[in-house]
């Protein structure tokens, strides 16, 4: 059978509510309606799939996402270190349409009318909904860096953030490849909360892994606005003191004040300027722009507060917000795994609501976060979060969760298995 014919048959099966959806039809529970999902990251893609799967195809789902493929932030530090390519962390969206019958719209959502329940796009289309899911990830607060205000697009070509995986990841890798041995790579980390707490420290390890093998006279300089390492401190510190001794230097309390783009110099509120060959500036972040447009940014003018039973915005009726854009509960990291778990709680609650039923009163979330120290050796932090009705929050279960005792190749294999399984769970 040719590819086209097979894809056509899969699409036809999905459209007819057959194929993979047929086996799940018993769980539909009478839900009918239209859901629009904005943003195809870990949260939005998972929500789109699970809404279709758990409704047995009875709920119409439209996913609005401008990119052709999903590029994962988790594992993308391996692309920066050079042990993986961008293709290794890229998954097409096709299966959401062909296997699950999601209506994929390659466009950017630009407007939300919460009262009329309509989303409009840059391409001039509009989509009505019964329930809206916003999973827009982060946007950068470029205005906090004076030299970025005139032309942020140009600034990030000189000083890549690489904090949304894709072209920025490749650009940072190219800059590191072009850097002469003996050069300095400087990484500026914003104050928490930001996307992926251990991500910057893993990135420092991956760049150091590359330098140790290819450019051994080079240095990694971590300039952290926080007072200390914000995640897996003991494990990262051990790596910098042992595996990468003489390569990595960590400096806390380095809040970025400005960047001299012409000389690649970082300036700080306190501390000496740092001039480097490659400057990787991760700016402060807030909820993606469409959340502001929808009027659901309610915390510190940055994040979206939600009801943790449903992930419905505390302000926008019928608008559910997932992932990094949300105001995190205590102990809840901004991670891809967490966004995937948010999506399942929201999908279940939306299907119950569309069937006239109350939400599950006891949602559970997990978080599994692997960090690569070398190309193969990995450390983890995991947690389990259960709903606390008195506090109306989802909180870590005391006595559960924890860290690796040390880095290991066994955990490296589990990390790759995690990636394959969660990508499939969200997209296939």
């Amino acid at each position: 059978m040719t590819m086209q014919r097979r894809e056509f048959l899969q699409a036809a099966a999905a459209a007819a509510g057959l194929g993979v959806l047929a086996g799940c039809a018993t769980t539909a529970g009478g839900a009918r309606g239209k859901v629009v999902v904005v943003g195809g990251g870990y949260g939005g893609a998972t929500a789109a799939k699970y809404l279709r799967m758990w409704s047995g195809g009875s709920v119409e789902v439209t996913l609005i996402e401008p990119r052709e493929s999903f590029v994962s932030c988790p594992m993308s530090n391996l692309v920066i270190g050079g042990s993986k390519t961008i293709a290794d962390v890229t998954t097409p969206y096709d299966a959401l349409a062909s296997r699950w019958g999601v209506n994929l719209v390659r466009d950017t959502a630009t407007g939300v009318d919460v009262d009329r329940r309509v989303v409009t796009t840059a391409g001039g289309r509009s989509f009505s909904y019964d329930r809206l899911v916003l999973s827009p990830g982060i946007e950068f607060m470029f205005g906090t860096i004076p030299s970025y205000r005139a032309d942020a697009a140009r600034a990030v070509e000189i000083a890549p953030h690489a904090w949304q995986a894709g072209p920025q990841t490749v650009l940072l890798r190219r800059q590191l490849e072009a850097m002469p041995d003996g050069g300095v790579y400087a990484l500026s980390i914003p104050l928490a909360p930001y996307r992926c707490p251990p991500g910057p420290y893993e990135r420092a390890c991956q760049v150091a892994w590359y330098f140790k093998r290819q450019k051994p006279r080079s240095k990694v300089l971590i300039l952290d606005a926080n007072a200390d390492v914000t995640s897996k401190k003991g494990l990262f510190t051990k790596a910098w003191n042992e595996e990468y001794k003489g390569i990595v230097e960590y400096r806390p309390n380095h809040a970025l004040a400005d960047v001299d783009l012409a000389t690649r110099t970082l300036k700080f509120e306190f501390g000496d300027d740092v001039r480097a060959n490659v400057i990787n500036v991760v700016p402060p972040q807030r909820a993606g722009a469409i959340a502001r447009t929808a009027g659901v940014v309610t915390a510190n003018d940055r994040w979206c507060e939600v009801d943790f039973l449903t992930f419905e915005s505390i302000r926008g009726k019928g608008v559910h917000v997932l992932g990094d854009s949300t105001q995190s509960a205590s102990g809840m990291p901004k991670s891809g795994h967490m966004a995937n778990n948010h999506a399942k709680v929201a999908a279940a609650a939306i299907l119950n609501a569309l069937a006239g039923k109350p939400a599950n009163p006891a949602p559970v979330l997990t978080n599994n976060c692997y960090s690569f120290i070398t190309d193969k050796e990995v450390v983890h932090v995991v947690s389990v979060h259960q709903y606390d009705a008195a506090k109306k929050s989802i909180l870590p279960v005391p006595g559960s969760g924890g860290l690796s005792p040390a880095m290991s190749e066994l955990e490296g294999r589990f990390a790759f298995a995690w990636a394959q399984n969660i990508w499939a769970d969200a997209l296939m």
């Binding site: 529970g29 006891a362 389990v384 279960v397 005391p398 559960s400 969760g401 290991s408 969660i422």
Partner: protein, 101 residues
């Protein structure tokens, strides 16, 4: 501090999960937190065990052993401690009912 905290929160988790009107899909929803590593509906894409179609006793007894610290592991001993025994039984039962594929 952790020991003091543990009693009310675990008790609360148990009461909210099982004393209130149960949601028909509660086991499915909890089991979905395993999919990130063990695959959608417990059908693994590789590198981890598939849970779909395994006997309830097999999955539940392994989870209890992880929770008790008698079965070695990396993340599972730490994750298993986050679930009540009743939740473990509910998830194990749900996976047992899934087609192994």
């Amino acid at each position: 501090m952790q020991a003091i905290m543990a009693i009310p929160v675990l008790a609360l988790a148990a009461t909210t999960a099982f004393a209130q009107a149960p949601d028909a899909n509660q086991a499915r929803d909890m089991a979905a937190t395993c999919a990130n590593c063990h695959g959608t509906n417990g059908v693994s894409r590789g590198g981890t065990d598939s849970l779909a179609g395994r006997s309830k006793d097999d999955t539940a007894s392994k989870m209890r052993a992880f929770k008790a610290g008698t079965r070695p592991g990396t993340v599972m001993p730490q994750l298993a401690k986050g679930f009540t025994d009743a939740q473990i039984d509910a998830m194990a039962g749900w996976f047992a009912s899934q087609p192994a594929k």
